[in-house]
């Protein structure tokens, strides 16, 4: 029964997404996305880095690519792509820190690709992508990232990925150094901390919409529309169920 339900959900979502994708391709319409302050601010970070001569710091958190936090980490990689491509083109590549070993080769590869796209020599490698600590050592990771922020004299702090309440330690260093912060995580406790330290938060699904906001390919926009329809369906079911329980 469970297997059938899972298959049905996947097939139904896939079908809906396929329909949205075809519609998106056929109409080629511009989708008006709800403006999110965090993505708006992200677009100005490279300019600030170029003007100040200081790097943007981005941390991809502690969610691995082989665990259930994979989608959040992939979204973090999209944001890193954006910062790396624009940064390398303007000679201001970001500093990237990761707290899970599987993220390191991917992040390193994305930065190499950004250098290649910007037709810059690969004089890179001098610690632009750094592994800080394994995902079992949350506080060691937080302490390491805080030290990197301080030592690299970053201009802004972008934390996107799976991060818990330990991000308070990182953001405290950022606040002391007067850095602008953009924080996105899927962890509700981490989000509570993020809300307290910055106005530019990406709450759960907003982080997962990174690709649609930053690249805007038809497949990505279609999946955002699918998500909205699914949310509407689930909300109606939950509300209907609650009313039914109340009446009966």
């Amino acid at each position: 029964m469970n297997a059938l339900l899972i298959l049905f959900t996947i097939l139904a979502t896939g079908l809906l997404w396929g329909l949205m994708y075809r519609r998106q391709q056929r109409l080629g319409e511009d989708v008006a996305l709800r403006p999110l302050p965090a993505y708006t601010r992200l677009q100005s970070q490279i300019g600030r880095a170029v003007e100040s001569g200081r790097p943007v710091h981005i941390s991809l958190g502690q969610g691995g690519l082989t665990t259930d936090t994979n989608p959040v980490s992939v979204s973090g990689l999209h944001i890193m792509d954006y910062l790396a491509e624009n940064g390398c083109a303007n000679n201001a590549p970001p500093i990237t820190t990761v707290g899970e070993p599987t993220l390191l080769p991917v992040a390193d590869d994305r930065l190499r690709r950004a250098y290649k796209l910007a037709k810059q020599s690969l004089a890179f490698g001098s610690g632009r992508t750094q592994f800080v600590a394994h995902d079992t050592d949350k506080f060691a990771f937080a302490g390491g990232v805080a030290a990197t922020l301080h030592q690299e004299n970053a201009i802004s702090n972008v934390l996107v990925g799976h991060l818990g309440p330990e991000l308070a330690i990182i953001s405290e260093t950022a606040v002391r150094n007067g850095l602008e912060q953009i924080i996105g995580t899927d962890d509700p406790t981490g989000l509570a901390v993020a809300t307290a330290v910055t106005d530019h938060t990406l709450i759960g699904e907003e982080l997962l919409a990174a690709a649609a906001y930053l690249q805007g390919k038809p497949a990505q926009l279609a999946s955002l529309q699918t998500q909205d329809i699914l949310r509407l369906i689930f909300s109606t079911i939950i509300l209907g169920w609650a009313i039914l329980q109340f009446i009966l």
């Binding site: 506080f139 309440p165 405290e172 809300t195 990505q220």
Partner: protein
């Protein structure tokens, strides 16, 4: 062309195999794939440790003393692991963990509460809106009520009201918010996973 299609084919086929293994409860298939993934994670961890060592060695060359401490500590722990495995020392690595790493992490964990309080006050300084006041007010109420409930308050009724109000915040408001966030994350995860499964999303390729 081949450079693009081979990783894509591997990613799609392994994604589908994992999905089949988990959906139809095929433990042999799931365990085999998990074993391979575990091996890759171990290789990535070795790369990560080498990266950490090289980065801090570079910083040490620029005169960063903290990086020097990290490099020396890494070498010392490696040496201890070597001597432990050869029977020269006993439990050297475990001793370092329980006497150095565990107390340091505990110290950082205890500092977290102070960082959170500081963050709360920064919020009120930065954003003097009703939502910031509500955020901070709720946090202070939950902290105080936790302490007050442990104390003998005058009158049974006041304790009961405090406890009920606290339960209402925790079980209804906080839980509802958290579930909302988690449902949103789950929906986003499903659609992103679908894009990964059909190869529309390729974090492993040059596109």
């Amino acid at each position: 062309m081949r450079k693009r299609s081979i990783p894509l084919a591997i990613a799609i086929s392994f994604g589908l195999l994992t999905l089949l293994g988990l959906t139809f409860s095929l433990p042999e298939l799931s365990n085999l794939l998990l074993g391979w993934a575990g091996f890759l994670v171990a290789v990535a961890l070795i790369l990560g440790i080498l990266n950490l060592f090289v980065v801090h060695l570079g910083r040490l060359r620029h005169g960063n003393l903290y990086s020097g401490v990290l490099v020396l500590s890494m070498l010392a722990v490696f040496a201890l692991a070597f001597t432990d495995s050869n029977g020269i020392t006993t439990n050297g690595v475990e001793t370092v963990f329980s006497w150095v790493q565990a107390p340091m992490e505990a110290a950082l964990a205890s500092l977290l509460a102070f960082f959170l309080v500081a963050a709360g006050f920064q919020l009120l300084r930065r954003d003097r809106s009703w939502s910031a006041a509500l955020f901070l007010g709720t946090a202070v109420f939950i902290l105080l009520s936790q302490a007050l409930l442990a104390l003998p308050l005058p009158g049974q009724q006041s304790t009961q009201i405090l406890s009920q109000f606290r339960t209402l915040i925790n079980n209804v408001i906080v839980t509802a918010g958290m579930r909302g966030i988690l449902i949103g994350v789950a929906l986003g995860t499903i659609t992103l996973s679908l894009r990964l499964l059909v190869g529309m999303e390729r974090p492993y390729s040059d596109e």
